[in-house]
Symmetry: C2
Subunit: 167 residues, 2 copies
Amino acid sequence: MATSCLSNYRMGIMQFRIAARADVPAILSMLADDEISRSRGFGAAVSEEADAAIWAAFDQIDADPANELIVGDDEGEIVATCQITVTPGLSRGGMKRLTIEAVRVRADRRGSGLGRAMMAYAVQRAREHGAGLVQLTTDKRRTDAKRFYESLGFTASHEGMKLTLGG
Amino acid sequence: MATSCLSNYRMGIMQFRIAARADVPAILSMLADDEISRSRGFGAAVSEEADAAIWAAFDQIDADPANELIVGDDEGEIVATCQITVTPGLSRGGMKRLTIEAVRVRADRRGSGLGRAMMAYAVQRAREHGAGLVQLTTDKRRTDAKRFYESLGFTASHEGMKLTLGG
């Protein structure tokens, strides 16, 4: 099973691969460095000392073949991340679907084609997992993101509906 | 771990529980009995003899604690179904999210409160799994469905984007 991929992004060697524990602080920084995420109360409180819930989540993803936390590694620098989940289902003749969450490109690398390269890698992983559909949701406030995904062939055919549960 | 729940729906005893192999034909009938699903080429070809891919999907869901195929069982009759998937993630402080797919209520039971009862069960399962967010996507052509989910507290805050992969 291929779990990494080299790409010629920006003349250097960009590797997309499964995240290791040592990559978690860089991933958290990218997740926090985002206006919409900050508006959800995520950001200010995040330090490089990730708390127990975050390490538990990392361990769970790491142990589960249906979940992959991916990073873009530019010669040791973590500059992009996303998470993919493969879900089996009875619909459409038993078709698997791949869901992409938590897509981030480090601020200083945006607009460089890196996001596009990472999405191509995620779609490649979908094919390797035998998925027939790739899906994601993007906040309606992120109009650039919607255009970006449309340029990759995604269709905004669905409403993405969310319900936050109180404690 | 609670995996079933009794509800007083329609004066009878409606049980929501994990699907067994014997429930698969009834689930497939509900998945096929839907105009939008038929427009995806799913429906006409589906018989009660589910093919190998469908049984493989059932076995995979059945073996995975992160995936639950749920049925509404009205004294032995399967009248509703949905699938839930619990996904760990690093975002929002290591919050788990629960994704709902393939929601169906049998045609002759629609408009009776059954869908609402099943969604309440799915949200209960989300809490039992420790999830902080419940999410689903609904085809924009299903305007009634969007209103239904909004009435349950869901917000259509996101675009649901899909990319079908060719063979």
